[in-house]
């Protein structure tokens, strides 16, 4: 299966994605990396707010860069349809016990339409569904950047999986992504969370090793109840409907012809007179006499007259 790029990535937008991802990653993991006794740890309570403002700004900048000149009307239309679908699905799932069908849309959409599209699709889906279900809060920027990574990852897989086993492999990726997403999301509030037992809590200045192991335990003991159902739902759903949804998305992408760039060339050098000669004149247009007259069509199914030109529409619904 050849790779589709609904949103082609230029060198500049690749750099922007990379920069945003680095800042986004820092926004999640900075407490773990802070060296022992660092001044910076005094900001543990207001840092999420700072990043909460910084990340959406960067994300907006990146999305506009990615979209610049490359995101055509067709990609926007498809983005809108998928975002609306995921928002409607979120209303269905309502996030109970982590059952969020939105990930099916993001993973399959990104896989069918490419990495650039996936990086945009993730945050837009999250934003649309958050607006619909009232899920707007300081966590939203973190959810958006993490969803962008899930989409980017699925998009990068496109064209690299053997077609025979792509659905199971995608299901495996989505299982991993669903758990990783949950664990990353824990990080944005975990350092400031209070009232946790010591073995689960963030210890300012205790060094990366201790904190990473505490975070690990925290994930296993608290959020796994959300992460596992989310992973299971996404995995099972992709196994069940993945092939059909992918076929529909690929058909949409084939009809949209994302990779077909408009090309203009000069007309061949011959004169206009030659062109008029080449066009069929009235004499050469098949007249009705050549075709069977309307009233006398042989009325045997097998003997139906073939049309003068085949009915097949070589480029339907252009």
């Amino acid at each position: 299966m050849s790779r589709t790029h609904a949103i082609p990535l230029s060198a500049r937008s690749r750099a922007a994605i990379l920069a945003t991802s680095v800042v986004g990653l820092l926004a999640f993991v900075w407490p773990l990396l802070a060296p022992r006794g660092s001044e910076i740890l005094a900001h543990a309570s207001d840092a999420p707010l700072l990043f909460g403002l910084l990340v959406p700004l960067l994300l907006a900048l990146t999305l506009s860069l990615v979209g610049e000149g490359a995101m055509g009307a067709k990609a926007i239309a498809l983005l809108g349809v998928l975002a609306a679908t995921s928002a409607a699905l979120r209303a269905l799932g309502a996030g109970i016990a982590g059952l969020e069908p939105i990930w099916i849309v993001i993973v399959l959409g990104a896989y069918a339409l490419g990495a650039g599209f996936g990086f945009v699709l993730g945050p837009v889906c999250i934003l649309a569904s958050a607006l619909l279900t009232g899920g707007v809060g300081p966590w939203l920027p973190f959810q958006m950047i993490a969803a962008a990574w899930v989409g980017l990852g699925a998009g990068l897989l496109a064209g690299r999986l053997p077609a025979r086993v792509e659905i199971p492999l995608l299901a495996a990726y989505s299982t991993f992504a669903a758990v990783a997403y949950g664990w990353m999301l824990n990080l944005w509030f975990w350092p400031t969370a209070t009232g946790l037992p010591e073995a689960l809590s963030f210890v300012p200045g205790a060094g990366p090793l201790t904190n990473v192991s505490h975070w690990f335990v925290f994930n296993l003991t608290t959020s796994l109840g959300y992460d596992l159902p989310r992973a299971a739902l996404t995995c099972v759903a992709i196994l069940l409907v993945g092939r059909r949804v992918l076929a529909a998305l690929r058909r949409a992408s084939r009809i949209a012809a994302f990779d077909a760039a408009p090309v203009f060339v000069a007309a061949p050098a011959s004169g206009t007179a030659a062109v008029l000669d080449a066009a069929p004149t009235l004499d050469t247009v098949p007249s009705l006499d050549a075709a069977p007259a309307v009233g006398s069509v042989p009325a045997v199914v097998a003997g139906l007259p073939p049309a003068a030109t085949p009915l097949i529409d070589p480029e339907p619904s252009r």
Partner: protein, 547 residues
């Protein structure tokens, strides 16, 4: 005279296509003309139209060689957004193109996109409402409009940005004759009162050819242009009035019923001496003695059906014998589709009885239903839900308990050469209809119901449908078709029933019913009345027999 549109040696090749869709097209459309684009499905008509506002190749991709100039702007350097103020495009299905919910908002939407000042928008919306006779509908939801009203709103929405060129893709194909008249009258007014250039593709030539100043015939990607009379003289597709003119050798070739009628005096006199055409009702349906005598018969008595507050059918009595082809006619909303769905067992009757081949269709299940009555709905895609044509055929074989390959066989007889791996929704209208027909016919139902079968079909597909329906009738199937297409009725129907306001107001042999109606009479009947002739084929046969 200035050109509105110039094509200079234009070829278009889509990505992955091995030959150009348009090949070396050179043409010139002067300002203020009404230009008709004619050609079979897949001939390159839509590509030609979409070159006019730059959608080809800016949106679709592909290679364009040569130059397209629209009102002096070259489409190489002007993408669609920079042509939006001079070209308005109206698609085939207006509902698919609507953005807003109500009429006024839809009219203003295009102007909002172009950043036009609010007071100008307000004025232009008012002007457009008056121009197209939409003032009474201004606050109506778009979904509550009739087909003709929707098409006029779509034209209005394109007009509010004051384009110099209006491009329409099959604006009347899906409309009943009255609604088509509405739309064509509005277009006439735009051309004559405002000097707008109109470029229109249309299969229903009999409706539009007399209004055209220039005709472009697109065939296999090549384009020939000329005056309507010159192009019709040699065109592969022509409306009945032109075919009759060609048969009788009239010169100049008439394009309207009025012109033809004035030229037809001698032909009428000649035909008066000839015997009338044979009654098309087949006497030769061989009685199958082994079968139930009720097989293939329709009995509808005192039928009431519809919605709780709005009865659609009030009191319908209808009897159809085996082997008849009954055409149901009447304006949109008269109850034709409701009657068909009751007959197909999809909707229960509120009162009265319905017997299809002796059984109540609502009580029939599974294979018993499929082999008794089959309905091809107005939108054939409603029957199709598999992802490929091949799978669709396989499913149909299985549910019809027919031998593997039955459906595919019927399909290839109806529309040869469809790739089995294609998606049913990617097919052309004619191919989709053929597939839906094949799916229904796999179970060999004794009664076949068709709802608007010629919507969106080109002449070639329609000719094959007509031949096919004759075969079906000869094989002893009963056919009921709901249609606006008077020419189709003249060709295949043995009987016509006219429904109005939920009741059958006329029922009789095709000739008797349609000849007397100004709306339902085919063109040949209008020209040759009071003679009994309905189709060019009948006239040709009669002339041939007399030598």
């Amino acid at each position: 005279m200035t050109s509105a549109v110039r094509f200079e040696d234009v070829s278009v090749t889509y990505d992955g296509a091995d030959r150009p869709t348009l090949h070396r097209v050179t043409l010139d459309i002067p300002e203020g003309e009404l230009v008709l684009v004619v050609g079979e499905t897949g001939s390159g008509k839509s590509t030609l139209l979409r070159c006019l506002n730059g959608l080809v190749p800016h949106f679709t991709g592909g290679t364009l060689s040569g130059r397209v100039t629209v009102a002096g702007r070259d489409t190489r350097t002007h993408p669609p957004r920079e042509l939006a103020d001079i070209v308005g495009l109206v698609g085939q299905d207006p509902l698919a193109g609507f953005v807003a919910e109500i009429v006024e908002d839809e009219l203003a939407y295009g102007m909002e996109c172009l950043g036009i000042a609010p007071d100008t928008m307000r004025r232009r919306v008012e002007e457009t409402l008056d121009l197209l006779g939409l003032a009474d509908l201004r606050n109506r939801p778009l979904t509550a409009l009739s087909g003709g009203q929707r098409q006029r709103v779509a034209i209005g929405a394109a007009l509010t940005s004051h384009p110099r060129i209006l491009v329409l893709d099959e604006p009347t194909s899906a409309l009943d004759p009255g609604a088509a008249e509405e739309v064509l009258a509005a277009l006439q007014r735009l051309v004559h009162d405002l000097g707008i250039t109109v470029v229109m593709a249309e299969h229903r030539l009999e409706r539009v050819v007399q209004y055209a100043d220039q005709v472009l015939v697109v065939s296999g990607g090549q384009v020939t242009t000329g005056t309507p009379a010159a192009m019709m003289a040699g065109a592969p597709v022509a409306p009945p009035v032109v075919e009759l003119g060609r048969l009788a050798g009239w010169d100049p070739l008439p394009l309207s019923v009025r012109d033809a009628r004035r030229a037809a005096g001698p032909l009428r006199a000649q035909l008066r001496a000839l015997p009338p055409p044979a009654d098309p009702t087949p006497a030769a349906v061989e009685p199958r003695t082994t079968e139930d005598p009720e097989s293939g018969r329709i009995r509808v008595r005192r039928l009431r059906a519809g919605y709780r507050s709005v009865p659609v059918l009030r009191e319908v009595d209808l009897e159809v014998e085996r082997g008849e082809v009954l055409a149901l006619m009447g304006r949109n909303g008269a109850g034709k589709s409701t009657l068909l769905s009751v007959m197909a067992g999809m909707r229960p009757a509120d009162a009265g009885t319905v017997r299809m081949g002796g059984a109540d269709p609502v009580t029939l299940k599974g294979h018993a239903l499929l082999s008794t009555v089959g309905l091809v709905p107005q939108e054939p895609a409603d029957l199709l839900y598999a992802t490929t044509v091949g799978r669709e055929c396989g499913d149909a074989d299985a549910s019809a308990r027919a031998a593997v390959g039955t459906t595919a066989g019927i399909l290839s007889a109806l529309a040869p050469g469809i790739d089995a791996s294609r998606h049913p929704r990617d097919l052309s209208e004619g191919q989709r209809l053929a597939l839906a027909l094949a799916v229904v016919l796999a179970a060999s139902p004794t009664i076949l119901l068709l709802d608007e079968p010629t919507r969106g079909l080109d002449y070639g597909a329609k000719r094959r449908l007509i031949a096919f329906l004759r075969t079906v009738r000869r094989a002893g199937h009963t056919v009921v078709l709901a249609t606006h297409d008077v020419e189709l009725v003249a060709e295949v129907a043995s009987r016509v029933a006219v429904i109005a306001d939920g009741e059958i107001v006329a029922d009789g042999a095709t000739g008797t019913v349609v000849r007397s109606s100004p709306l339902f009479a085919p063109q040949v009947a209008k020209i040759l009345t009071p003679g009994p002739w309905l189709t060019v084929g009948e006239v040709a046969d009669a002339l041939q027999e007399s030598g």
